[in-house]
């Protein structure tokens, strides 16, 4: 797992050949990880769409491949697609790339088969490798290759959260893998890290450019005034969240946003998504497990995270407070690379800042909106991020299902207030007196 990964050969500088080689290597690594993550998933499992927000594994595997085919291979001159009918099937949401199959209907796609999708992956990989080795990809296309790999890493995380939901939706509750390691660890008492008001430069220099990859929504890097505040040393634990439940947290309106309380009642929420009714076990990618009181609480909606924070006399941090604390830390933690696929208490309990990266995405109190001076990428890829800046909240830090080399301090994940199926928890913050 990458600690302080060196900035890769960038689009803005130096040797195109070196970048090609680096991208070819990375292409193999990322594509290989998708294959590895999909390995425990049968052709049947790969069909399940257990809710509209989730997609079948097979669709993730095909869509990430389509991305390379549509935006790299088919770019420019004449191109013979692998199958012309698939463009419609595996376009996710790019209106300017043509019409698309309805998202809630992804589960009906028994064809193409998983084997055909696997062949598709092989064929496109072959073509991509040829292009990467052929040296005829210009800087713009190399950028798209790099983006396509980041894109695939996002879908790797979704593949895991979606298959977890799929298996939970099956009354048999099968495990994704039976051999997942259990991590012990323990947490220290929560402490507060205080910081004075300051002007801080948040965000990431626009990519492509000199500074390595970032999504368009992370730029431009810009100055913000961060008020005095204190940040909790670690995420909220299962034991702490249990106290909220035992205090009637889900039974009284007091701590909840108005729409949150409506949601609690309409859907009958009484605990985090994957907990059993007794609040003693939780469903994991390794099946049912006893709830570890020391591990970070997970699979909360924004509504639950926000209500817990209010109940606890605290609040969620802003994304700027979070980034300011994270920017100087190594991007290190319980990522997908650890192979645990579940949040866990840290190996070494400490009262210093812990678990900022990995384990659970941390809901922030920042709505997902544009940074001042934000410009979407040009063309169709401008639909990647900007058009979703509406009624969502920013999450930070990555999770146990995120690739380590996909995470960074400026990374802005986003989900609407009622989304629970991501590996999402929270860290408390407080205003300074």
């Amino acid at each position: 797992m990458s600690l302080h990964a060196p900035v890769p050969p960038s689009s803005g500088v130096g040797d195109v050949d070196a970048r090609c080689r680096w991208l070819a290597q990375r292409f193999d690594a990322v594509r290989g990880r998708s294959a590895a993550l999909a390995a425990p998933i049968s052709a049947e499992d790969a069909m399940v769409q257990s809710m509209e927000d989730a997609s079948p594994s097979k669709w993730h595997l095909a869509h990430t491949t389509w991305f390379f085919e549509r935006f790299v291979l088919a770019d420019g001159g004449p191109y013979t697609p692998f199958d012309p009918a698939w463009d419609y099937l595996f376009n996710s949401y790019y209106q300017s790339a043509g019409p698309m199959h309805a998202r809630p209907q992804r589960g009906v796609l028994s064809r193409p088969t998983l084997a055909q999708v696997s062949d598709y992956r092989d064929a496109i990989e072959t073509r991509m490798r040829a292009r990467l080795q052929g040296g005829d990809l210009d800087t713009r296309l190399l950028d798209i290759v790099e983006l396509g790999l980041q894109h695939e890493q996002q879908h790797q995380e979704l593949l895991l959260t979606d298959i977890k939901h799929a298996f939970f939706s099956n009354p048999l509750h099968p495990a994704y893998r039976d051999d997942l390691p259990h991590a012990g660890g323990s947490t220290a008492a929560l402490s507060w890290i205080a910081r004075q008001e300051s002007i801080f430069k948040v965000g990431h220099a626009a990519w492509p450019g000199d500074a390595g990859f970032a999504y368009d929504n992370e730029s431009p890097r810009h100055r913000v005034l961060v008020p005095a505040h204190a940040l909790a040393s670690r995420p909220v634990s299962n034991a702490e969240f249990l106290a909220f439940i035992e205090d009637g947290g889900y039974r009284t309106a007091g701590a909840w946003l108005s729409a949150g309380w409506d949601t609690v009642r309409a859907r009958g929420w009484t605990r985090p998504l994957y907990w059993n009714e007794a609040c003693e076990a939780e469903f994991t990618l390794g099946g049912w497990r006893a709830l570890d009181p020391e591990a970070p609480v997970c699979h909360l909606s924004y509504y639950e995270a926000d209500a817990f924070a209010r109940w606890a006399g605290a609040r969620l941090p802003t994304e700027f407070e979070w980034e300011q604390a994270a920017v100087s830390l190594p991007v290190d933690g319980n990522f997908v690379d650890s192979g645990r696929l579940h949040p866990s208490a840290p190996a070494n309990a400490s009262t210093g800042l812990q678990q900022m990266f990995g384990d659970v995405w941390e809901w922030t109190s920042s709505a997902y909106t544009a940074y001042p001076g934000y410009r979407p990428w040009p063309g169709t890829l401008g639909e990647y991020n900007g058009k979703f800046m509406d009624a969502q909240w920013v999450l930070r830090g990555g999770s146990c299902a995120t690739s380590a080399d996909h995470a960074r301090a400026s990374y802005r994940n986003f989900f609407p207030s009622d989304a629970r199926w991501q590996f999402a928890g929270l860290r408390l913050a407080k205003d300074s007196a």
Copy 2:
């Protein structure tokens, strides 16, 4: 295909051993047909639930097996189920048999796998054969075996209509089989068979009893007064239905029931379910085919059948008019046994009564209600038919997806007014002057 199949050894008479042997033979035949019908369906195809009304093929295969396990094998003494968790999964709607998996969620069941379901079928078949050969099944249980085979035949038809809908829902429109025979044939001009008012005994003697199998909803056999009327010699053809479309049938409220017209507008109906927009081709289990103007029109809702009849200056027949005409005919026609799996014009055009059996289910103007003196079967199996006597219409005659030895003149199929995915068409009737 069975012409005048001899009444099998009945529950009410004679030799239990003979009945056992006959049932064992029939068990193999019916179960074998399910396997044959499922053969072209991959594990992935068998997962698809393209709408709430339809079920995945795998579910049909498992549920029909569960029926034997639950109602025959597990009846009485101690029994070790194949898998105790599956009782919940494969109960369809028997409230008195315990809680059940939600119908709209059948598509999430990647587990058990198709292979496991296949093993399940094998295992239960082995146990069933042992019981049938062992001679320890009493008359009541032999009755349930017989019912279970009829039940499986119903699901064979649903398996075909559901997979057709599943494949049509996939933008790739795969064919169920590529080798389906095309049937030529031609229709004669429609003629009218008139009949005077009469008292007619409709229905079937209650089963179990002396008279062979029938569902509880077909009994008791009872006298009804059938008014003078005339019945069309054959079903409405594609060409005739096309004239309705070309006359603006789907564009004006005139001929429609009120809720039918609302449905036409809300769902944007402009033609039968599987026709292409140009009304020149239709999607079949063999893929897209040119529309045969002579073949019976198919995949109509009650609303469409009723509106067509009104537009044509006629009406739908009552189920009694239909049965009276059918009762003396051989149960002969284009059933699933023909292997065509699509309605077709008859081999020999005639102005006599044609195609009463097979090809398309014929919507009648009879609401699906209880016959006078109707008694549901005792116990859990009493939920089989009676509790659906609400807001549905009776269809008669069987279709190209029905087994010949499952059809009979007294058979009452039923669907709600907007159901289009069955092989359903219509035959006209007229009041006599």
Copy 3:
């Protein structure tokens, strides 16, 4: 209240002038009753649409007036409408009379005001009286006048059931009238009136014709075979229905139709619509009242009536069984004319056939379908009844909200299975051994 009302001067025979005079007199009586029923309803009350199935009182008052304007006054030559914009507002469902205001939006019509609608009623009444006195209405238009009065009587009943629902929807639960008389009465033990199989002529001669008014759906009069059966001497009482509740009737699936049980659970039904939670009081047009155990149970859906009958070891009668028993009785009972506006136990308990007319509409087991030879009225008025022959059940006998001279033995009311806001109860029937 009318006992054996003499057949009025009919469209088919005799003196047009006499018919005109009779209709003019009846016009005043019926229109006057609408005004009297609307008297306790303020302009604000007359606005409420408490559910999609119900209409505001004001709308009923205007629509019944529009009926005369549109189908009588505006028929034929040039006509200056009272307000041309109102045609759109007060057309209910006549597609062939032009577009119409959406039914669920009737509650937004603060304009025209109730005062304007009252002026509208006055103005159209003046014009109608002039035409009726002028002697220029031909037989066809006189028929429509007669129909319009029957139509208005139907809406008088709906006005009462809709305002009852409106007041119940208001947490203050105001009474429609504070001065409604309470009727005592008592019921005898239920007895069974048995009848042998017979051929019976049901229905009513087509109107217009010699035999007085009937809706098109009651004709043609035709022969049916009614099987041997027994009919309960009186409707089911509140006390009897309470026993069903106390036996867990609403808590177990056993007695319910499948869709009925789904409805019970989805809507949380535990008792008839207007009963309080303790099942000790019911909401009436006179406000809350103690439940009279002897009075007929009321405000049941078909689902509840059917489930009760099954639980009681009986069934609902067919509409033919009902009509055969009713046809020789005087059309006498607790109609709207009694001024009670609530079902009550009969003044004289008896084990003979009681309360066939008035008190509560009686759900039958007959689906609402066309009689053999049924022809809708010609033209736009053909939309009156026929297009609703889908997924509804027939109710017979009239209720405490029906006009006595609107009821008759052949009258077929119809509502879908889940409708509860009508004055609907049930009478049991049984198959004969």
Copy 4:
């Protein structure tokens, strides 16, 4: 209309008697305006709830009165409510004040009548005046009186926007008033007012306190870094928005947020809410009027404002950019006080900053979230603002339906992305190079 209204006697300082006198005077003025605004609305008009988001006028009049009764009069010692049953009816959303009538059902409340609500207003006003004169209201209760008046002013605006929607929902399209003055005026070419990056103190000192009234969501006043940017001199005009429509703005996905585009298609939006199909006239509180090309465009959702800005190569301002520009301006403009009740072009065209206050609320790109250090008011009134900080956007500046003395530079109005029935338009902003 108030220019630089002097800060009223505050809760935090000086003479309680003076404050009482000032509040008594203001109480009469604000309550009087409600009555004046309600004058053209009949008892029937006051019943209409044309959509869930809107409330009947009568409800607004009662709820604002309930606020004083519940939070001032009933506070503390024993109190005899005007009608104990009304507490349930007229609680809007205060969970901690007890259960409440369902919002979408407000339209069924024909009782209490408008006359009774008017009596209620009179009675509570009498009691309130007695308390204000009696001198027994402590500072805390005087604060609630002040809040109650601000609260009533908010509902005055909603009363106007809701009755406008109600009248538009009626096919007769009645005018709220027939005598509304038309304002001429003309706009200058749009110019850009640029500003360098700066640190600016946004918001309002917490109330109650020394600095006059503000909602809790406007505080604490705090430092933010506002980046360099340019702000348009005036709101977008009808003519400018028409160019967007004519350029296919509603027909292509390009400029829209993802959920915005879904909304456009699902609801068939092709123009602002109250425009006619030809885009030549708009429905106003004075009825239909020719569209004034110079007047600010109005009745846009956030989706439309945001899409227009993107199409125009600009963006929406942040609420901080807006406030920084507004804070030094007089709170002057086309408010409800002008009596026009519709946005209009300014009397004097200018290229300086115009129409920041009044005319139309201006959508900002700021999500409605808490200011750092935000504390809701204590107790039940803490539910006033904070619990709605979810999936809404801030609007600034007030509209032609806002009271001048209710507006201020720090005022944060908020609505979700698809709300169109408010007087909401937009002002463009740009990033500085």
